[in-house]
């Protein structure tokens, strides 16, 4: 969870509640967001958000890092049956048959061309197959969650933020 008193993520990458400093390049520990889920969302988020994501590479990575930490915290509060359902969807989408069928490529999501991902998202959104429309809604919704709670996003929106500054959630407050 990001610290609301922190500077924008460009200059100060957020600390997850797993607060050990991360080795550069090492994957942060996740509670509920699966490896497949993170790979897919990191690929989908820039396609959905377009030029809203920072153009600067370091700022973009920091925004995606914060977004994935936000999603992990969000999913970690789901009931276990729902967490499992979400993980099953990501596992399915990451499978080779799904990539070939939906993205038209053997490549992993992380290596797939953004144009292929965009084509998949646009066709899934209006597909005759209801489950694809639902997958689209899930991916889109998590992208919204990843980005629009970040201070860097608020500047683009003209949202000045909460009227009262508060620290983040105490995890185990009574």
């Amino acid at each position: 969870m990001s610290d609301v008193t922190a500077a924008p993520p460009a200059s100060s990458p957020s600390r997850s509640r797993h607060s050990q400093p991360q080795t550069p390049g090492a994957a942060p520990a996740r509670v509920a967001l699966s490896r497949h889920g993170e790979e897919i969302l990191r690929a989908v988020t820039p396609v959905v958000l377009g030029s809203l994501l920072p153009a600067d590479r370091a700022a973009r990575v920091a925004a995606l890092d914060e977004g994935m930490t936000t999603i992990d915290d969000y999913l970690a509060n789901f009931s276990l049956p729902l967490q499992k359902q979400v993980q099953l969807v990501f596992g399915l989408l990451a499978s080779l048959p799904a990539r070939v069928l939906l993205l038209g490529t053997w490549k992993r999501w992380r290596s797939a061309e953004p144009a292929r991902i965009e084509a998949f998202l646009r066709s899934a959104q209006v597909s005759r197959i209801a489950v694809l429309r639902r997958f689209f809604a899930l991916l889109h919704s998590l992208t919204i969650i990843a980005w629009f709670d970040q201070r860097a996003a608020w500047d683009q929106l003209g949202y000045p933020g909460p009227p009262i500054e508060r620290p983040p959630w105490p995890e185990a407050s009574l």
Partner: protein
């Protein structure tokens, strides 16, 4: 004033057994008002709540972590086929801690319908008036007049079209109008249950157990003897292995729609006519997005303070699907989630968020033969899931409310209107919108549908063959079991439900207190 007795399930080091006069599952609108009244009558009340007890100073006003912690499933409990989602609080105070304070008395057409079709006596508008008055005084419920721009626009549209509209009553005291009701009131102005009835019940000797999930009711022949709970970890997700037992001669289930019927099902409570979980209603919400020429900053100010009921009962109570209309006043994540654009469209849309005006319609269900609602079922692991089919009756309500919302937004001066539907486009004029919406294909989940008002599933009624509890909340088959929450309504309401739940809870808890006192007098002269 005694110190409040509160146990946090996540920190329990051993199993806990508590004994009292009345044990209550849930601390939302139904459970909390019940607890306050019974504790005030001198009874020892035990409350079990799955969520945590948060204080106003805890609320960080950040959307995602707050949705994650204060709501079930992040504020979007999926229905069985994923066609829509249900929004329910999961915290001390239940949904009252995160609702937008919109308080309406139960509409008379609904009450009359209940008498005629569900055999409910004693619930006429006149019968309930004293209970509404008592709750309105208790929770400072009064009309809100400091409308933000967002709400003024609904009034402007309704006025231009000659619709009936008015100011919404809100349960707030010294409200600063921050507009963050949905993330927990940061200044404690909202008169939600965590700030009012729960502390009052605790002051009168009540005991609260948080972060404990009521797993089942213990039954002994035809009586409930207690509640079995499982302690949860700090996130409220995993069980810790510690158990909690609440034992009392009277048990009140107030877990809300979906969870109350599910608890009764899991417990094997007699259900000879297969009524449990049936007739679960959603007054399904659908949404219309529009851009206004001026910035309206919908993030701030009382989220909802104007309503129109022009269409709620238009075709008669048992006619076509009626709907009310209110605005959505929310922060960026919630607002942006109604829009499913991508890439450059997303950029254009997001940069105009300060101009975004969102209307919501709630399509009342349960009054028409083609509107029997959904059904709560248990998964193999015992958790609850709602199966809610969207049929032509609901789709008709969706289309007619899309039309009405678009007309209202254009009448209020909108530059463009876009129904919250992946298959819709942006319309520049009312004639264009009218033609396009009339031909719009309606399918899930492309039509954004959800519900913050799940109701029913333990329907009250005069006939045990068609209902679960009586008008006083007493279970038809299990004598010392009551259900007092939104799950007892035999239909939806056509308005935001909190005041209906508070008032019915006040009535039925008072009746319970009288019965307990009468029984005690019978068995002992010392009371």
């Amino acid at each position: 004033m005694s110190a409040h007795q509160i146990y946090d399930g996540s920190t329990l080091e051993r199993d806990l057994v508590l004994e009292g006069d009345v044990a209550i599952v849930g601390t939302g609108a139904g459970g909390a008002i019940t607890a306050e009244i019974l504790a005030g009558a001198g009874l020892r009340v035990l409350l079990v709540e799955e969520g945590a007890y948060r204080k106003p100073e805890d609320f960080p006003l950040r959307e995602v972590p707050s949705l994650a912690r204060l709501y079930r499933e992040g504020g979007a409990i999926p229905s069985r086929d994923g066609a829509l989602s249900v929004v329910q609080g999961r915290t001390v105070g239940g949904s009252t801690t995160v609702n937008w304070t919109s308080s309406f008395r139960t509409p008379p057409p609904a009450l009359h319908h209940w008498r005629e079709h569900h055999g409910l006596q004693g619930l006429s508008p006149d019968d309930l008036a004293p209970w509404f008055e008592a709750i309105e005084e208790r929770l400072h419920i009064s009309p809100w007049e400091e409308h933000n721009r967002n709400n003024e626009l609904l009034a402007r549209g309704a006025q231009a079209l000659g619709w009936n509209y008015g100011a919404i009553k809100r349960n707030v005291h010294e409200c600063a109008g921050h507009g963050f009701c949905g993330l927990g009131c940061p200044v404690g102005a909202k008169q939600s249950m965590d700030r009012t009835a729960i502390p009052d019940a605790l002051t009168n000797g009540g005991v609260l157990v948080t972060r404990v999930r009521a797993e089942r009711l213990e039954l002994d022949t035809n009586r409930v003897v207690g509640i079995e709970g499982l302690a949860l970890d700090g996130l409220g997700v995993r069980t810790t292995g510690k158990r909690v037992q609440l034992r009392a001669p009277s048990v009140v289930v107030a877990g809300g729609a979906i969870n109350s019927p599910a608890l009764l099902m899991r417990s094997g409570v007699p259900d000879p006519y297969r009524r449990l979980g049936k007739r679960t209603f959603l007054q399904t919400h659908n949404y219309s997005l529009s851009f206004m020429p001026e910035a309206i900053d919908p993030f701030y100010g009382a989220p909802q303070s104007i309503y129109t009921d022009q269409f709620t009962w238009r075709d008669g109570v048992a006619g076509r699907a009626g709907f009310n209309m209110e605005v959505v006043g929310a922060q960026p994540v919630v607002s942006m989630n109604f829009w499913r654009g991508m890439g450059s469209e997303m950029t254009t849309f997001a940069r105009r968020l300060r101009h975004l005006h969102i209307l919501v319609s709630q399509i009342r269900d349960g009054f028409h033969p083609d509107s029997q609602g959904g059904e709560v079922k248990l998964r193999s692991d015992g958790s609850a899931v709602l199966d809610y089919p969207i049929n032509d009756y609901i789709w008709d309500g969706v289309r007619s409310s899309y039309l009405a919302m678009a007309e209202c937004q254009f009448a209020a001066g909108a530059e463009s209107v876009h129904p919250a539907c992946s298959d819709a486009r942006t319309y520049r004029s009312w004639p264009e919108a009218r033609a396009a919406i009339a031909a719009l294909p309606l399918r899930t989940p492309n039509v954004f549908l959800n519900s913050t008002h799940p109701l029913g599933g333990c329907a009250m009624g005069g006939d045990p063959h068609t209902s679960v509890v009586a008008a006083d909340g007493r279970h038809h088959q299990v004598e010392n079991l009551l259900v007092i929450d939104g799950s007892v309504f035999p239909t939806s309401l056509g308005v935001n439900p909190c005041l209906s739940i508070y008032a019915l809870a006040a009535r039925n808890a008072s009746l319970l207190a009288e019965r307990i006192a009468a029984d005690a007098t019978k068995t002992s002269q010392t009371r």
